[in-house]
């Protein structure tokens, strides 16, 4: 009886643990990918700006790169604000 109970508990715990462990992994991957994209966009914008100042690169590419960087930074800042806001909301929860 005791053994069967522990076996059943182990059997229940196993599938419950697996998705719980897998889900943050997938979300973390997506998040990492988004951050990498963001970093790439910003780096490209900086490279274009540097090239425009040092060598006479096409100003259209500079404007495009800066607009895309602005878009990416704005999005990242907005998401960060939302995350911080959610965190503070949790902190304010009466325990």
């Amino acid at each position: 009886m005791d053994i069967r109970q522990s076996l059943a508990a182990a059997a229940y715990a196993q599938p419950r643990l697996a998705p719980a462990a897998a889900q943050p992994e997938g979300g973390g991957n997506l998040f990492t990918q988004a951050i990498t994209n963001f970093a790439d966009t910003v780096a490209q914008g900086e490279a274009q700006a540097r090239a425009a100042m040092t060598t006479g690169v096409d100003p259209h590419s500079l404007v495009t790169a800066l607009a895309q960087t602005e878009l990416a930074v704005e999005t990242a800042v907005t998401i960060r604000d939302r995350v911080v806001e959610a965190y503070q909301e949790i902190l304010r929860m009466p325990v």
Binding site: D58, H60, S61, V63, T64, A67, Q68, E70, L71, A72, E74, T75, T78, I79, D81, R82
Partner: protein, 130 residues
């Protein structure tokens, strides 16, 4: 965000192509009095380079206007033949000015689109911020 990003690239490619066209127009105007000069015609084609977004435009190969060059009568000109004439350029300033105006209008249209894309993305972020 990739849609906005692609649209920005396409609008920038349009602006780049129109700038190239304006370069050729200014070359034509500068050479309006050059003997034997054929005016340059800018063509446009769809960008097929790797990494470029679908639908971007790029200036195609430059073609020369093959209409016959006018014979200008000026016996004192160094290039004049026995009849006292030499080949001028086939640049028509009215056509060049019209072409330049067209390039300007097209450039402005692309610029407006560029600005509109930025405004749209800003309003989307504004919605996210609330």
């Amino acid at each position: 965000m990739t849609d906005f990003s692609n649209a920005l690239s396409v609008a920038a490619s349009g602006m780049r192509a129109q700038a190239q066209r304006l370069t050729h127009v200014s070359e034509n105007i500068a050479n309006a009095d050059t003997p034997g000069y054929h005016r340059k015609i800018t063509s446009f084609e769809v960008e097929r380079a790797m990494g470029a977004p679908d639908g971007a435009v790029r200036p195609g190969p430059v073609r020369l206007d093959q209409t016959t060059l006018p014979m200008i009568f000026d016996p004192s000109h160094p290039m004049a033949d026995e009849a006292g004439t030499y080949e001028g350029s086939n640049v028509d300033l009215v056509i060049e000015l019209a072409d330049a105006r067209e390039a300007q209008r097209s450039y402005e249209a692309n610029l407006r689109i560029f600005d509109q894309i930025r405004q749209m993305s800003s309003s989307l972020n504004e919605l996210l911020r609330r």
